[in-house]
C-alpha cells in the first residue's frame, strides 16, 4: 500500500427530505483495494458520486494528492484521474467498443471537428492488450455479454490514467468465472498503484479482494478495518449496528399435510422437463439450483405467464386450467418476480396504487369508479402489517429502498387474496437488515396458512427458510430434501447433477457458498 491519495472529511449531503450523508469520511491509499460497505441507504453510493462529480457536497473537504479540490462535474473528476464504474452499465450499445472508450475525448484529425477512427481503434486495441482482454475494438457494445461490457468499462475508466477507480457493485451480474477475471484485472491495476474503491453487498468477496474495509451506516462513517483480520460477522454487526447471527438457521415448523398445489409432469421445450412436485398448506418449499436450472421457468409456467407443452396442475385437489396470469390470480396464486422493477411494480405510482394494482375489482364500484377510501384503508393496513418504511401511502414506489419495494409487492399479492405465493429471489439486491425482515415475513405468512414457493440462489437462505427443498438442474428436478437432512454440499450435488454426469458419476464442487453460476 502506498501513500494516501484521497481523503474525504466532514462530508454532508442532504436531498429533499433525506439526510444522505452526515459528517462522512473516507480515506484511500494508492495501490489498495478499499471496500466500502453498508446497508442500502447507508450513503456509500452518494459519497462516491460526490467524489465522481455527479453530486455536489453540501459541506466538507476533499483532499486529493495532498491538495483540496472541488469536483463540480464528471468531467472534472476525470481530469483529476477519478473514474467511477456505475452499478448500471454505462456503455452506448450502438457504438463500437473503441467509440465507447473514447466518447467525450475523441482524438481529432487535422480538422478539429473530424473524428480519427483509426486512432481510437488502435489505442483501444493496445489498451485491451495491456489488460489481456481479447476483444475487437470495432465490435458494437450491444454484442457483448454483461461481463465483457464491464471489462470494457474498466478499460475505459483506466484509459483516463485514473489514480482512483470507484466500482459500484461490479459483480452483481457476473458469474463466478467472470468474477475471477474481474478480480484479476482489479489486482493488476492495484499493483500498478491505482487506488480502488469497491462497493459490494457480497461480503464473502470482500475478504478475497480488498485490503481495507470501511463501514458506513445511515450516512455516518462507522469504522475502517483491516480486511485480513476482520470476520464477516463483525462486518455485518457494524453495518446493522447490532449483532445478528446470520448463520444460525431457524427450525422451521412442520407444515400441514394438506396439499394445495400439485404439479404433474410439466414440460416446456428444453426449459422444463417432466417436473412434478407438491406444495402443502403453510409450507415454504425451497427451489434450489444454479442459474438457468429452470426454476423461474417452472414458476412462470405455473403462474400462466408461459404456456406449457404438457402437464397438469392441481389446486386443492382439483385440476386447474391456467392459461394466463389472470387465471392464476383467480386460483389464488401470486408470483413475485425476481426483477421487481420490471415485472413486479409500477415504479411511478404510489404505494397505495401498487398495493391495489392486482385487485382493483375489489375496490371498484359501479361504473368502474375506484373507491379511493377503500384502497387507502387497505394500503395503510399493509404498510403497518408489513412495516413498510415509507413517509406515506402516497409516496412513489421508486423512492423506496429495495427491501421496502419488495414488501409493497408482497402487500399487493396479499391484497389480491392469494394463498399460494411464489417468491423468485426475494432478497436479491436487498441489504442484510431488510433481508431478515423479509425472512420473518415469509415465516409469518406460512404460519398464517399461506403456501410459499421460494426460489433462491443463495444456499444459506434456502437452508434457513425451507421446510422442504427441491433441487433443479437443466430443467429437471434432480432431488428433494427435507429441511433436517439438507446441507449446502447436498444441494450442490443435486444442482450439478447433469444428465451426462449421471452416467459418469458425481462431480461435486467442494464448497459453494452461493450457487450463482453460468
Amino acid at each position: 500500500m502506498g501513500d494516501v491519495v484521497l481523503k474525504m472529511e466532514g462530508i454532508d449531503k442532504s436531498f429533499p427530505g433525506v439526510r444522505a450523508l452526515a459528517n462522512a469520511q473516507f480515506e484511500l491509499r494508492a495501490g489498495e483495494v478499499h471496500a466500502l460497505v453498508g446497508e442500502n441507504g447507508a450513503g456509500k453510493s452518494t459519497l462516491m458520486k460526490i467524489l465522481a462529480g455527479i453530486y455536489s457536497k453540501d459541506t466538507g473537504t476533499i483532499l486529493y494528492q495532498g491538495q483540496e479540490v472541488e469536483i463540480p462535474s464528471p468531467r472534472a473528476a476525470q481530469h483529476l484521474g477519478i473514474s467511477m464504474i456505475h452499478q448500471e452499465l454505462n456503455l452506448m450499445p450502438h457504438l463500437t467498443l473503441a467509440q465507447n472508450v473514447f466518447v467525450g475525448r475523441e482524438p481529432r484529425q487535422a480538422l478539429p471537428f473530424m473524428l480519427d477512427e483509426n486512432k481510437i481503434n488502435e489505442q483501444t486495441r493496445q489498451l485491451f492488450e495491456s489488460m489481456h482482454l481479447r476483444l475487437d475494438p470495432r465490435t458494437k457494445a450491444a454484442d457483448l455479454t454483461v461481463a465483457k461490457q464491464q471489462m470494457v468499462e474498466i478499460a475505459k475508466a483506466l484509459s483516463f490514467n485514473s489514480q482512483v477507480l470507484i466500482m459500484d457493485e461490479p459483480t452483481a451480474a457476473l458469474t463466478e468465472s467472470e468474477i475471477e477475471e474481474l478480480f484479476r484485472i482489479i489486482r493488476q491495476f492495484r499493483d500498478r498503484g491505482v487506488g480502488i474503491v469497491y462497493i459490494s453487498h457480497r461480503l464473502e468477496e470482500l475478504k478475497q479482494i480488498s485490503d481495507r474495509i470501511t463501514v458506513m451506516r445511515d450516512g455516518h462513517y462507522v469504522d475502517t478495518v483491516d480486511a485480513a483480520t476482520v470476520t464477516i460477522d463483525r462486518i455485518i454487526s457494524m453495518m446493522v449496528g447490532r449483532t445478528i447471527f446470520e448463520s444460525a438457521p431457524e427450525v422451521p415448523e412442520h407444515p400441514d399435510d394438506e396439499i394445495v398445489l400439485e404439479a404433474r409432469n410439466l414440460n416446456r421445450g428444453t426449459a422444463i422437463k417432466d417436473v412434478s412436485f407438491t406444495l402443502k398448506r403453510g409450507e415454504i418449499l425451497g427451489f434450489a439450483g444454479l442459474m438457468g436450472a429452470g426454476r423461474t421457468e417452472v414458476a412462470r409456467a405455473i403462474f400462466g405467464a408461459d404456456p406449457l407443452d404438457s402437464g397438469e396442475i392441481y389446486i386443492n385437489g382439483k385440476k386447474a386450467d391456467i392459461a394466463s396470469p389472470r387465471d392464476a390470480v383467480r386460483y389464488g396464486i401470486g408470483y413475485l418476480s425476481e426483477d421487481r422493477k420490471r415485472y413486479g411494480l409500477a415504479l411511478g405510482l404510489d404505494v397505495e396504487a401498487n398495493i391495489a394494482l392486482a385487485s382493483f375489482r375489489q375496490f371498484t364500484g359501479m361504473l368502474g369508479v375506484v373507491n379511493d377510501g377503500k384502497t387507502a384503508k387497505t394500503a395503510h393496513r399493509y404498510v403497518d402489517a408489513l412495516s413498510i418504511k415509507t413517509p406515506g401511502i402516497e409516496q412513489r414506489v421508486r423512492n423506496l429502498s429495495g427491501g421496502n419495494q419488495q414488501k409493497v409487492v408482497i402487500g399487493k399479492w396479499l391484497t389480491a387474496d392469494t394463498d399460494i405465493l411464489i417468491f423468485d429471489e426475494p432478497t436479491r439486491g436487498i441489504d442484510v437488515g431488510a433481508k431478515s425482515e423479509i425472512y420473518k415475513l415469509l415465516n409469518e405468512l406460512a404460519h398464517q396458512g399461506k403456501s410459499i414457493i421460494m426460489i433462491s440462489s443463495e444456499l444459506p437462505e434456502i437452508l434457513r427458510m425451507s421446510h422442504r427443498i427441491v433441487v433443479m438442474c437443466e430443467g429437471r428436478i434432480t432431488g428433494e430434501l427435507a429441511a433436517g437432512e439438507a446441507t449446502q454440499e447436498g444441494i450442490m450435488r443435486f444442482a450439478t447433477q447433469r444428465s451426462v454426469m449421471l452416467a459418469m458419476g458425481e462431480d461435486v464442487p467442494s464448497n459453494g457458498q452461493t450457487a450463482e453460476q453460468g
Binding site: 452506448m92 466518447v103 473524428l115 457483448l144 465483457k148
Partner: protein, 342 residues
C-alpha cells in the same frame, strides 16, 4: 490467462439483424414499387416522370435529413414543416421587399431555420421541455409568424412572389448539367434541386459518420445518461443537433420558395409528418441510437414514388394518404420483427 493469443472475439450478427438489413429491405421495396408501377402504367417509367419523382423528393428529402439526426438522439421535431415555411417567407421578404441580393436572401432563410432549431434545442435541453411539446409549440409559432410576416407588404395574408428576380427560381429549377445534356437530349433536364438534395445528403452523411457532432448524436440516442457521465456536455450537443435540423429546414424553405417561385405562408403543415415517415421507413429507430442518411433518402423516395405512381394510376389523392400511412406502419412493423429475432 496472459497467453499471446491474438484471436479477437467478434460476435456474429446475421445480416438479417444488422441495420443494413433495413436499408436493403427499404431499397428492395423501392425497386418493387417502381417495377409494379412501370408494369401498371406506360407513363410511369418515362424520363420526364422519373425527373418529376426526383424533384418531388427534393424538399421532403432535405427536411428528413435534419429529422434523421433528431430522431437518432431519440427526440422528435414536429416543427420542420412550418419552420421551412417561415424560412421561405423570410427569404421572400429579404429579396422582394427589402431588395437584398439573392445570396443574402438565401442566407436569411437558412439562418431563420437555424435560429428556430436552436430555440427548439434550448427549450428542450435547458427548460427540459419534452421534444414533442417543445417542437409542437415551435410548429405553431413558426406557422403564426409566417402568416404575420406575409402581411407586411399588403396587410393581408398572401404569397410573396419572386417575379422580379427570375434568377431565384432558376437556382433550383434549371440544371447545371444542361450545357452538357441539352445537345444530346434536348427535352431532358434534371433540376438543380435534385442535386442540392443529394449534396445535402452527402454533407449529412459526413456529419453523422465522421464528425464529433455525429458521434454524440448516436451516443446521446444510445444512452444519454452514460454519455453525460462520460463528460460530454449533452445539453449543448443536443441543442446543436436541433439547430442542425433547423439548418436543413431553412435550406428546404429556400428550395421550396425557389421551386414555387413564391413563399406560400399557409403551406407547411403536414410536411413534418412526411419527413418523419421518410426517416422511419429508412430504418431509423424512434428509440434512438440507430439510423442512416442513406436509409432516409431511400425512405423519402419511397414516399414520393408511391404518391407519384398512385397519381398516375388516377388514384384520388385522399387514397394516397391511406397508402402512405399503411406503408409507414408496415415499415416499422418489419423493423420490430427484425429486432425480435435478435
Amino acid at each position: 490467462m496472459a497467453t499471446a493469443e491474438t484471436t479477437l472475439v467478434t460476435p456474429k450478427r446475421s445480416i438479417w439483424q444488422s441495420s443494413a438489413a433495413q436499408k436493403l429491405l427499404a431499397f428492395a421495396a423501392l425497386i418493387v414499387i417502381f417495377l409494379v408501377f412501370s408494369f401498371l402504367s406506360p407513363y410511369f417509367a418515362t424520363p420526364e416522370n422519373i425527373v418529376g419523382i426526383l424533384l418531388a423528393t427534393a424538399v421532403n428529402g432535405v427536411l428528413a435529413l435534419g429529422v434523421t439526426f433528431i430522431i437518432i438522439t431519440a427526440g422528435i421535431d414536429l416543427s420542420v414543416g412550418t419552420v421551412m415555411t417561415l424560412s421561405a417567407v423570410m427569404t421572400g421578404l429579404a429579396i422582394t421587399i427589402y431588395g437584398l441580393p439573392i445570396p443574402v436572401g438565401i442566407v436569411v432563410g437558412i439562418l431563420t431555420g437555424t435560429t428556430a432549431g436552436l430555440i427548439n434545442g434550448l427549450v428542450i435541453s435547458r427548460m427540459r421541455i419534452p421534444p414533442f411539446i417543445a417542437t409542437l409549440g415551435m410548429m405553431m409559432i413558426a406557422r403564426g409568424l409566417a402568416l404575420v410576416l406575409s402581411t407586411i407588404e399588403t396587410g393581408t395574408v398572401k404569397p410573396i412572389y419572386f417575379n422580379d428576380t427570375p434568377e431565384f427560381r432558376q437556382l433550383t429549377m434549371l440544371s447545371f448539367l444542361d450545357p452538357i445534356i441539352k445537345p444530346i437530349a434536348p427535352t431532358f433536364s434534371v433540376p438543380n434541386a435534385v442535386f442540392i438534395m443529394f449534396g445535402a445528403a452527402l454533407v449529412a452523411a459526413f456529419i453523422l459518420g465522421k464528425t464529433v457532432l455525429g458521434r454524440y448524436t448516436v451516443a446521446i440516442g444510445s444512452n444519454e445518461e452514460a454519455t453525460r457521465l462520460s463528460g460530454v456536455n449533452v445539453a449543448n450537443w443536443k441543442t446543436a443537433v436541433y439547430a442542425l435540423g433547423g439548418v436543413f429546414s431553412g435550406l428546404a424553405g429556400v428550395m421550396i420558395a425557389s421551386r414555387l417561385n413564391s413563399a406560400q405562408p399557409a403551406l407547411g403543415v403536414g410536411y413534418e409528418l412526411d419527413a418523419i415517415a421518410a426517416v422511419v421507413i429508412g430504418g431509423t429507430s424512434l428509440s434512438g441510437g440507430e439510423g442512416t442518411i442513406l436509409g432516409t433518402i431511400i425512405g423519402a423516395f419511397i414516399i414520393s414514388t408511391l404518391t407519384n405512381g398512385l397519381r398516375i394510376m388516377n388514384v384520388p389523392q385522399e387514397w394516397q394518404f391511406v397508402v402512405t400511412g399503411v406503408i409507414v406502419i408496415l415499415a416499422v412493423y418489419l423493423d420490430i420483427l427484425r429486432r425480435r429475432r435478435s
